[in-house]
Amino acid sequence: MRPGFVTIGRWVAAALILGGGAIHLKLYFDSYRDFPNANLGRSFLLNAIASLVAAILLVVWRNPLSLLAGLVLVNATLLAFALSRTSNGIFDFTETGFNPSPEAVLSLVFEIGAAVVLIGLLVVEWAGARREVAPAQ
């Protein structure tokens, strides 16, 4: 794949992750920071900060590890969303369906979209990449 496409892919993944982080930051300031268990609000803020860091890494650090870091963040976000829809919840917090609307659906679209792009980039950049070390004799 041409390097230009890889660069665009990294920018797209960064934008999607940043979008998910922005939603979490909005929800944090909307009222999630006021949830009785403070860990919930902190996790939303942490998600926003981690998303910013992951997005920057994707753009400036052309290393497969930055792709893996983004993928770990996306998976953690999706897992937290799922856990919050279980009877036990997460940090004493439970939520139903795709609430709040439209933030929940948008966040899922961003996170899943980022995951697809990141896995594609991993295949292209990592599985296909080999480091030239020496000319053969």
Binding site: L27, F29, D30, F81, R85, T86, T96, W126
Partner: protein
């Protein structure tokens, strides 16, 4: 010339991987499978936990426009306040959502159910029979409250 296990002779160049290409593909495959499973879990829980919030107003006979005196409650910081309200038969209770996100009011026995209340919106239920009515937020089940109706 000796070639290490992970070296590949190709077009006059020896290429070396820290992790062989095949192992990388396997690792990426594992990561992809885990991601798909987690994404499916997330979407699945979203669908499964959808209680149909947003359905319109009042299901039970006790939900109606206010008549006579009543009490007020607020929804704030993911909690109902006051948590327990005591009124008399015929009184109304009005909940106002002062949070920055949507909530709802849903009695355990289904006698009063609000639509999803966006920030600033209110819901009123009038209580015509004595008893104790427990309720929750239909979106956030950790939010609970009680209305005690005295005869």
């Amino acid at each position: 010339m000796y070639a290490a296990p992970h070296e590949i002779r190709e077009a006059g160049v020896i290429r070396t991987d820290v992790v062989p290409g095949r192992q990388r593909l396997i690792l990426i495959g594992v990561a992809a499978v885990i991601t798909v499973l987690i994404a499916a879990f997330a979407v699945g829980r979203g669908v499964a936990s959808d209680t149909g919030g947003g359905s319109s107003a009042a299901a039970g006979p006790t939900s109606s426009p206010p008549s006579g005196s009543g009490a007020a409650a607020v929804i704030q910081n993911f909690a109902f306040s006051p948590k327990s309200i005591t009124v008399k038969v015929g009184d109304a209770v009005t909940w106002t959502n002062r949070d920055g996100t949507a909530h709802s009011v849903k009695s355990d026995d289904g006698s009063f159910v609000s639509q999803d209340l966006d920030p600033g919106q209110t819901f009123t239920a009038t209580f015509k029979t004595p008893g104790t009515f427990a309720y929750v937020c239909g979106i956030h089940s950790s939010m609970t409250g009680t209305v005690v109706v005295q005869g």
